[in-house]
Symmetry: C2
Subunit: 326 residues, 2 copies
């Protein structure tokens, strides 16, 4: 009997709005891309069924299910050890969802699951800016702030699989309220796209007579991308939003560096489109708050991966890498 060489992996990135997937070969090329809605499936079986129907053509484009080594899944609140999604506030399913098992049962393929930021970190390590690095921290800036931490060449999962929730670190004790968690002053409440937007709204509201290009948008329609657009045009208030965001993110990054002394911190996600408008104040604050022994040696860089690809690639990388695989 000749054993089929399993040279493809499926990478799945479950997000609050959409679930994206790709068929990836061993060199990290995405040969087939697709997506389904996450949001519309409050019934998880229906979600799995639609996912199966959408992924099948990807498999058929290269051969049969026997050519697939396995499935890797990245999901918010994903737990690597248990293969579950636990109490994810932005997904339609409540409680603990045994997602890896459900997908594995449906597809008949070994399935590994981790949280979305960990998947992005693995993607960056295998195909992006962290290639060859054994110690780095990936910070994903989006609606929230996520993180994936690699030390000694391994993802840090912690004793229960939930390590790397750096977005919830308290940076300003007693500071801005975070409605999702009830915390005050957590990194996410300032450095996420949501936080950037809120900082702009606060500055505009607290200084009603101060001129700003941002005033062309009704407050309720203001988005973090508008702040970038206006700062680029030299708007003073919009620039102050980046200064403020950068200061707080820089303190957080300094703290993370003094924890695991990474070679680099890699920033990823929508707000990084702001480029140096964000990077410069972050770097300045980070260096300012570091112990001398860490100063001027940690690289602060943006992800090299396309945002839509990083999590899919990282999730698929779990398939090649996984200790759980047979």
């Amino acid at each position: 009997m000749i054993e089929t060489i399993k040279q493809y992996a499926i990478g799945i990135d479950i997000g609050g709005t959409n679930t994206k997937f790709g068929l990836i070969d061993t060199r990290g090329e995405i040969l087939y891309r697709g997506a389904i809605s996450t949001k519309k499936h409050t019934d998880i079986s229906e979600f799995i069924n639609e996912l199966y129907d959408a992924v099948l053509p990807a498999i058929q484009s290269v051969g049969t299910i026997d050519d697939i080594k396995g499935i890797g899944v990245g999901a918010p609140n994903g737990n690597y050890y248990k293969g579950t999604i636990d109490f994810a506030p932005n997904l339609p399913w409540k409680g603990v969802v045994p997602m890896a098992k459900m997908i594995s049962d449906k597809f008949g393929l070994p399935t590994t699951l981790t949280n979305d930021a960990n998947a992005a970190a693995v993607g960056e390590m295998m195909y992006g800016a962290a290639r060859g690095m054994k110690d780095f921290i990936m910070i994903t800036l989006g609606t929230g702030v996520g993180s994936g931490i690699v030390a000694n060449g391994q993802l840090i999962y912690g004793h229960d699989g939930f390590a790397g929730e750096l977005g919830h670190n308290i940076i300003i004790p007693g500071g801005r309220y975070h409605p999702g968690t009830g915390a005050h002053g957590s990194l996410e409440s300032y450095a996420s796209a949501t936080g950037i937007r809120l900082t702009a709204v606060e500055l505009l509201s607290q200084n009603p007579t101060r001129a700003s290009l941002l005033r062309q948008y009704p407050l309720e329609d203001l988005e973090s991308s508008h702040v970038y657009e206006c700062a680029k045009q030299g708007d003073d208030l919009a620039n102050e939003v980046f200064q403020y965001t950068g200061k707080i993110l820089g303190i957080a990054l300094a703290n993370f560096i003094m924890f695991s002394s990474p070679e680099a911190i890699i920033l990823f996600g929508g707000p990084t489109k702001s480029g140096n408008l964000l990077l410069d104040p972050v770097q300045e604050s980070m260096e300012e708050h570091l112990l001398p022994v860490f100063k001027n040696k940690v690289k602060l860089i943006f992800s090299l991966l396309k945002e839509s690809d990083a999590a899919i690639l990282g999730a698929s990388a779990l398939v090649w890498d996984s200790k759980k695989m047979e």
Copy 2:
């Protein structure tokens, strides 16, 4: 030729005042203890010579130098990768000291060096409260605040060997000035013995009419142990010092947990003698600042090792464990 079985290790703990050492067998029994002054040796060669003369009787008490597998050293600002002590503010030697090489050359024994808190963490993992744990964080409270971090069963050294400087994490941005580093609001400026003392001094000075047993000591002679003594007797102000210290340390511990999700945090050093007076407010604040997924599952415990033994044991454990060893 019969090879000698090397069944002993030397553990050395270099502190600002004294350097302690022990001869340890494979079961972690300290068979011989000794100490020399660190402080009086501004000439490092003299320090090495006196150390050699002091350690030799330990070796002779069990046999010859051929019975010793190696030497492990814990030192402030010790770098595991390079075997050096780099810019240690509390040691008499300036700049970068190639301590491991100097000791190895003098004794003719392989020598491994790490920072003192890492050594204590290894000691705790092999002989103390962290036995069997693969993920834990050791926080050493003393004149300063040190840390040793274990994840996936390995000490986290970072890309340059300097990981684990958690005492310098910024907890209160813009907060209390730390004269040694110039930082504002670092953990060490509040949670060290020095910080506890300073909190007491501040409370006493800012409330000159408030009665307190602490007023029996002139401010300049006040020590953190006095705060414990007075709190134990029910002194309200002394208790407030612990509440305040616990609140800040608790925020820091919550942040550390959300980084590496350890099974336990182990507190070590002088201030832990205060027992529940310190532990209770720390635990309360830690739980308050954790993301729900981490609440009520991380053990907060005191070290099981005698303070004088932990670093010596941990340093010696490097000898059995070390990848550098031949």
